[in-house]
Amino acid sequence: MTIEAIPAAAEAPPQAHRPSTLRGVLRNPSVLIGAVIVAFLAVIGALAPMLGTIDPAEINPVFRNKKPGVERSIRDADGSERRFVHRFGTDTLGRDVYSRVVYGARVSLTIGVTVAVLSVGIGLLIGLVTGYIRWIDGIIMRFMDGLMAIPAILLAMGLVSLSRAGLLAVVIAIVVPEVPRVVRLVRSIVLSIREEPYVEAAITLGTPTPTLLVRHVLPNTIAPLLVQGTFTCASAILIEAVLSFLGIGIPPETPTWGNIMAEGRSLFRIYPHNIFYPGVFLACAVLAINMLGDGLRDTLDPRFAKRM
């Protein structure tokens, strides 16, 4: 796109406004609600073994496709029996859906955060380089344009089929299409900052490029990248669900909200619990992360509201 508005962040001198921005961030209702929900889900995931769950990969063919509320007795490792209620029912292999959803929080959220961090990190690096080194700029940007032209889902599908489906493959498959967007963002920030008088002054004084980057450019990228990161996180969780739906996601032994739904989709009419519970959790998580991003964007830079 040719119309690229100048990031408003570039117009504000970096250091001065930090403290009040932080307070502003914390006071924004979207940020608060979003952050609380995300934290809640993350804690659930982290504390999974302690929340009345059983092994999410344990199959039990006799108890398959039971509706929520079914009880059965479990023999523990020490031989004692106890009663266990399948709060969310069981899936097509008899695995406890509640346990899978709770453990799934770990994987789904981890995927989201990993993809966000990786894509922002890699994009930042590449963006800084292209913003500064002219002759690489042309080549890399053509390459990024090409990468962005390929629809993300198709690129992800292609990348996953390159190797065994697994956590790493899926993460890479989602990161790669997101990187060009970040690169463009960072590059535009770098390009505009480069024209600033204080930067020119710094260059004249002989400041080495790395110091320039760290001291002047980097702080201006934090806010927009934070916002971009949250949206990437939300989008990654959704893409993982779609990849599972298409049959090329993470294998079902490691539960994610996406693959629990994908496995249960053909039983939707009789056993909707397979889709309902993970679906609700997934929607909440993505919703919360989107709200977080919204709030961050509104507070960190009101002028960002103009751009998506």
């Binding site: 344009d145 032209a149 599908m157 939300a234 779609v242 739904m261 939707f268 709200m291």
Partner: protein
């Protein structure tokens, strides 16, 4: 303007070149050997080698690429490894359903979302505004297939107002075509309604605070004229940008929607082709989608001149 268009068109060439190389490499790097799949269960290694040769897979990669690129530029997309048809024919068959779905979806989305967004901006802070914002965030938080199944359950199964699945060609009757497209289009448009409504609301809101709006009101313009002629027109640029982005993102949603509703379009073709390691088809489809993405962006950029006379190329 003409020069601009020309320059942009020329600029697409290196981009498409990059796409072509990327896609080609990506496929050739997969560990599965399509020759083995084609050869079948009981083939021995000689038969596999022979098929390799026939498909030209035994040549060095750069030779394969040159041959393929040359053929593609001449319009020969080759024959599918698996479906016994020319790739061009396969794609041709599937174009209508996907285009129908895409056009219906975007039309629906724009028709619903823009007025919604304008209204929300107009009644900024009111309950309508909150509802629109709330639902829009929900709209892009739920995976497309979940929305699809829910809609099918309510409208096709419980209420039985609409068919469960399938696609009917326009040539067999518009009524049937329309009837079968409603649920899929609605399913897919949820995300776009959400996105477009939000951006419309935000842009219009911004614009509403501008001086020229105050002037228009002071001049005695009706609110409707203020909204449409002044606010919306000026907010149009970001809205159109998002619509353009949306069209590009549409492809991801199309793949899922076509799978849920059994629409024989390009999305499903791609999924089938990827699962079957059908290189010629995958390459052709990705090239096609990438090209349309690039061209749509060009069209979007050109429409800016229509909305904002300050923008000149």
């Amino acid at each position: 303007m003409f020069g601009y268009i020309l320059r942009r068109l020329v600029a697409t060439i290196p981009v498409m070149g990059v796409v072509a190389v990327l896609v080609f490499l990506m496929l050739r790097l997969t560990p599965t050997d399509p020759a083995a799949i084609i050869a079948g269960d009981n083939a021995n290694s000689e038969q596999v080698a022979e098929i390799r040769k026939r498909l030209g897979l035994d040549q060095p990669i750069h030779t394969q690429f040159v041959i393929w690129a040359n053929k593609t530029l001449h319009g020969d997309f080759g024959e599918s490894f698996f479906f016994k048809k020319q790739v061009a024919e396969l794609i041709g068959d599937r174009l209508e359903p996907t285009l129908s779905l895409a056009v219906m979806t975007i039309t629906l989305a724009v028709l619903i979302a823009v007025p919604l967004g304008v209204l929300a901006a107009y009644r900024h802070g009111g309950w309508l505004d909150r509802i629109v914002m709330g639902f829009s965030v929900l709209g892009f938080s739920v995976p497309v297939f979940v929305i699809g199944y829910a809609l099918i359950y309510v409208f096709a199964i419980e209420l039985a107002w609409l068919p469960v699945q399938g696609y009917q060609r326009i040539s067999l009757g518009i009524g049937g075509w329309l009837q079968r497209l409603i649920l899929p289009a609605v399913t897919l448009s949820v995300i776009y309604v959400a996105l477009i409504a939000r951006i419309t609301r935000t842009s219009v809101l911004e614009v509403m605070n501008e001086d020229y709006i105050r002037t228009a009101r002071a001049k005695g313009q009706t609110e409707r004229k203020v909204l449409v002629r002044h606010a919306l027109a000026n907010a149009a640029v970001p809205i159109v940008t998002v619509v353009g982005l949306g069209v590009a993102l549409l492809i991801g949603g199309v793949v899922v929607t076509e799978s849920v509703y059994t629409i024989p379009g390009l999305g499903r073709l791609t999924v089938d082709a990827v699962l079957a390691r059908d290189y010629p088809t995958i390459q052709a489809v990705i090239l096609l989608f990438s090209l349309s993405y690039v061209l749509i962006n060009l069209v979007v950029d050109l429409t800016y001149t229509f909305f904002d006379p300050r923008i000149r190329y």
